[in-house]
Amino acid sequence: MSNFAKRTGLRIAACLVAATSLTSCTTFGPEPWEKDLMAKKPMQIDAYAFEKAAADHIFFSKEASSGGRGFAGGGCGCN
């Protein structure tokens, strides 16, 4: 392999690594100082998990589908 090819290859590799690194620095989604709404309780994924589990238990015992939000099944002989 010629020196030119080696240099070109190294440059391309360096550019790719740099590009990947720079991409990792940019965030998809809001910046940390824009998380005020996300910090609220009802915006949490597991907010009212108790209530959602109870609702899922009702639906699971009356329907053939289960799971999605969490595990399938219900630990009971109701279905």
Binding site: Y48, I58, A72, G73
Partner: protein
């Protein structure tokens, strides 16, 4: 710490990347400082109903009562639940949950309606039991048969949906879980659970891991779970298509095992929008029939019931589902929209859509109406009834829950923050199933009967949450 060490090595070797790494480190510090600022803000603002924020140890107690009852004297259930969640200062999480429930009432036995009175025989709860129940559609009498066992009989009037009114059960369950940051993982933990009824027990275990990155905007999670269930029906386990004559069976119990995983992606899309996408796979193997459910075997011309046999379901079932959840916060409102697609190896496909709208009327009080739509196709082996003289299928069940139907749930929730760290809420719901009660191929007298034994139910869920040090 590990991240900083790794960054140092990279910086020494690849000087061209140093600028971007420094930028990343600065961003991480800004984020950390920001998180601390949030923490102190919430810690000091006790009148708000938010959590304690990062880095502060606290505990949470949840207590709830679910009251559920179906129309026409069918199932009634009361389920109290309590849970303790301990949040450690270093993101450790310990949860203990206790549940009890009492279920009673009438449940469809699987037979179809008929234009004549129908009498059913089933094993009594224990050989020596001597209770009887009565209802509008007929009482039951205890019949002594040879072998010192007892059979419970009940009669259902013509045109009535056959239901067993002797249904009664109690359940107790606990779940224990622990997780904490571990090495590269943001959270890693495990849980166990056990649930026991008089004729059913279930032991569960799970392991879960989550990694948060992209400035805490993205979380990837993986949960593995397993379950071992044992069914020990009153009167023993009936064989496939065994005659439902109330005879006791020699096999006392059967079991099934389950393995599954859930792969989840949570993404903060914008300042207002949180999204979650889950893929779940589940595999069950073992006894999955309902040991109390029967099918009518009817005359091929008149449709009159000739006898009743126990159902039979395949031993293997695998299912997959995709669940998509969105929370959108706009001013005093929070909209949650979710969708689920489910498919399994029994031929069932379902779609679920749910929307709720939380409106904060004051800083303490909110209302949240909700609507849920669900539709499923029938299992390959769903049959309203079997026809005498025809070859038996490999599997058959008349359980409406395995049939084709649509359900709508209308709900509303009211919540009130008693203080900054306590909240009381009530959720009420009305659930109604609609299905095809008049299949085109119904035989004889069955053409005039409603063959869909769907459910209409009301429920209320009262919950209380208390966060404390």
């Amino acid at each position: 710490m590990q991240l900083k060490k790794r960054q140092g090595k990279i910086r020494a070797k690849l000087s061209t990347l140093s600028a971007s790494l420094i930028a990343a480190t600065v961003a991480a510090h800004v984020e950390q400082a920001d998180a601390q600022a949030y923490g102190s803000e919430y810690y000091n603002t006790v009148t708000r109903n938010d959590d304690f924020g990062p880095g502060i140890a606290y505990s949470q107690i949840d207590a709830a009562l679910l009251v559920y009852f179906e129309q026409n004297g069918r199932i009634t259930a009361i389920e109290p639940t309590a849970a303790l969640t301990v949040h450690g200062a270093k993101d450790q999480l310990l949860t203990l949950e206790l549940t009890a429930d009492a279920v009673s009432g009438a449940t469809p036995n699987g037979a179809v309606r008929a234009n004549v009175a129908q009498t059913f025989s089933t094993p009594a709860r224990t050989p020596d039991s001597s209770y009887s129940v009565s209802g509008a559609s007929g009482g039951s009498t205890i019949v002594h048969v040879a072998g010192n066992t007892y059979i419970r009989q009940y009669t259902v009037a013509a045109g009535q949906l056959p239901m067993d009114k002797g249904f009664e059960d109690h359940r107790g369950a606990f779940n224990l879980g622990y997780s904490q940051p571990w090495g590269w993982l943001t959270q890693f933990g495990a849980g166990i659970g056990y649930s026991m009824e008089s004729d059913y027990s279930s032991a569960t275990g799970d392991v879960h891991a989550a990694k948060t990155f992209n400035s805490n905007n993205t979380t990837l999670s993986l949960s593995l779970n397993t379950e071992y269930d044992t069914s020990s029906p009153y009167g023993g386990v009936p064989g496939a298509f065994a005659l439902a004559d109330g005879a006791w069976r020699s096999e006392k119990s059967r079991s099934k095992t389950q393995l599954g995983f859930v792969l989840g992606l949570t993404q903060v899309m914008t300042r207002n929008w949180l999204m979650q996408l889950n893929y779940a796979y589940d595999r069950q193997n073992g006894y999955q029939s309902d040991p109390y459910r029967i099918l009518s075997e009817v005359d091929s011309a008149s449709g009159e019931p000739l006898r009743y046999v126990y159902e039979s379901r395949p031993a293997k079932r695998s299912s997959q589902s995709v669940f998509w959840d969105n929370k959108i916060s706009l001013g005093p409102t929070l909209t949650e929209i979710s969708a689920r697609y489910f498919t399994d190896s029994w031929g069932i496909k379902s779609v679920t859509g749910e929307v709720s709208e939380r409106v904060d009327l004051t800083s303490r009080f909110f209302v949240e109406p909700s609507l849920r739509y669900y539709h499923q196709t029938a299992a390959d082996f769903f049959h309203y009834y079997l026809v005498s003289g025809q070859a038996l299928p490999a599997y058959a069940s008349s359980d409406t829950r395995l049939g084709k139907f649509t359900s709508i749930t209308y709900g509303a929730k009211l919540g009130y923050a008693l203080s900054g760290r306590t909240e009381l809420y009530v959720r009420g719901g009305y659930y109604v199933q609609t299905g095809n009660g008049h299949p085109a191929d119904a035989i004889g007298q069955l053409q005039g009967q409603d063959l869909f034994g769907g459910t209409k139910a009301m429920f209320a869920f009262i919950g209380y949450t208390w966060n404390f040090h």
